[in-house]
Symmetry: C4
Subunit: 209 residues, 4 copies
């Protein structure tokens, strides 16, 4: 139960930061804020839940053998709940700032599938190597590495697909009307597919220790 | 005594950075500077005083059992003193730069209470997990995590409430006339309330070790 | 084989980030994204391949005695392959974003040789000290140091030479038509020369342990 | 001899980054680049020379008992040499970029003395605590802390005094005609004075271990 609460809190703050910075005028500073928030929530919650905050990461961790099967569904539920509550909390705050309404943009499907696949692959690749491999045990920088993967991928790929790399974030930005629910399957397919492929690639190059 | 001096110095530099960057034209780079200054003061002073620099953090640390009751009041006094001296030092420096006078903005009360509560909850949550939990002992990145929580929250929530998350900062920005003293109760209520709630949440998920 | 795959993946994401941020409108945030991507790929892959992602680094590591001769050529091949594939993947993504075509700029030869030499010297100097010296064993921050060397050098020197500091990046930006293939010798000479000189300087000040 | 070479190289790259970013159009990204370069040079060279790259730091380290008297003068000579060579190397690179000539600005003396004193105090305070105190032994983040102190102070105080906090940087920006040699005494007095005061404050709160 405590693990699921930690996953909810971390995902909530991650998606809140996405909604508030993208819609609140942070411009090109948004990826810095988002990557930093992911980093700090990992440093806070990682010792209790592993600090996934992302169903694609939980799927990858499960395939790699770093998450028990019985935790997979509750983790995803907690994460999606965080992704649902965050935009509901953000809405009145954005209203108070006088932020303009979101203009819902549609995805260009094939490039978005590629961009979301690549960004999520990078993210899960970094998570599994820095937080679950024997070769990096004792290294304090897993949180920095994981958070700044999202930072870098958001700058590189956000212009294509919005840069979610995370079904919980995709849920949040759909509720916030930054993206359309009609396109959410793009995120689900690309993010979960990339999480699985990254875990298999990890198992190949690292072994399962 | 040495602990209180460390708390004064760290809070002074934190609030000085707030005043100088917000009023001195750093624009959207202000949160990067402010979060970085908090981080470096924690790395410098943490081994002596714990590196709180924030009454809400000291309150949370006390509730969590990481600060003796006899230190709570002196810590808060030293922090508030830092928050008072910093804007007095900043004023002539800003004058020399030709910075425009501050335009005091009033708070939209309910959204500001929410924003300050959320940001301070995140901050104290990260502090207690990274700097006081057994599960993160030996991890060098507590300072990075704590400083960059303020960075991320300032980008996400600063547009709503100014982004103090800290009664000593609230004191400083009120003296600097960035915000009005008539609204300082919003910060006190939200920051101290969030510090207490975050400590209780920490005690629930982590136990008191 | 696993090491070469790790070198390919890391270099691919590094060069992809270069192409996407330089041509996709990230402006002055590009070095932050690029340095961050290099950092995270080092934290992910370093425990398997050393995390070079750069023929100049592999040459320097070989001269310093930290890479077996038999690995030098396969490493460089894997890196250059990453530098070839990345711009081919980036092209349709940039098209989908509506990014303007690259305007190929030519190098001012002598200043570019100096800038590329200096940046690559700094990079290989930092790599060898933070990732191969006895005096820094156990320090978690090699990835941060190496990634942010590229960040700092790109801000300082990118305006002169484009800021590759890496023949695999030079290959990628030539394919992406950011720079001209007629000038690629500038990168090869300056990057590989600086990698060798930095390794000799390292061996002099540090000894070969 | 090897220590002095490391001090020369680190200071050279620090001052080169200052000149290239301030005069080369990096705008508000300059402090990010400068703080990052200081950080990476500390991670590279710290295990050999201590990574001072700043006469005010060497003076503070000497007073704190962390630098032998016989090294103080050679360190300062190596650092000042780095500060002299860097702008000479930067000049043709800036010319090649088509950078505008520097417009030499004069200092407002009293505010600049205050700003340089405060920034250098913060810097030497962080250096001594993170790199020489028993209480922080084993923490990997001294380089991040020290580099980002300069980052934060440059955003906060750079608009007042230029943000040198370092006589070697002051030498470099005087040669580069960013500031006037007539004002260099301001830096020497404030930086060395602050280095000494910070060391005494450190000795008071930490003891000499």
């Amino acid at each position: 139960m405590r693990k699921y609460l930690v996953e909810f809190i971390g995902t909530f703050f991650l998606v809140l930061t996405v909604c508030m910075t993208v819609l609140g005028g942070a411009g090109n500073f948004a990826p810095l804020a988002i990557g930093s928030m992911l980093m700090v929530m990992i440093y806070a919650g990682g010792h209790i839940s592993g600090g996934h905050f992302n169903p694609a990461v939980s799927l990858g961790a499960f395939i790699r053998g770093a998450l028990p099967a019985s935790d997979l569904l509750p983790y995803i539920v907690a994460q999606i709940l965080g992704g649902i509550v965050a935009p509901l909390v953000a809405a009145p705050l954005l209203g108070s700032m006088g932020a303009a309404d979101a203009v819902t943009s549609r995805l260009d499907v094939v490039p978005s599938l590629i961009a979301e696949f690549l960004g999520t692959f990078a993210l899960v690749w970094v998570v599994l190597h820095t937080a679950t491999a024997k070769g990096t045990e004792g290294n304090s920088n897993y949180g920095l590495a994981i958070g700044f993967t999202v930072l870098a991928c958001a700058y590189a790929l956000g212009g294509v697909s919005g840069g979610a790399f995370n079904p919980a974030v995709a849920t949040g930005i759909s509720i916030a009307e930054i993206k359309s629910f009609s396109d959410i399957w793009v995120y689900l397919v690309a993010n979960l597919g990339a999480g699985a492929v990254a875990a298999l690639a990890f198992n190949f190059v690292n072994g399962r220790d």
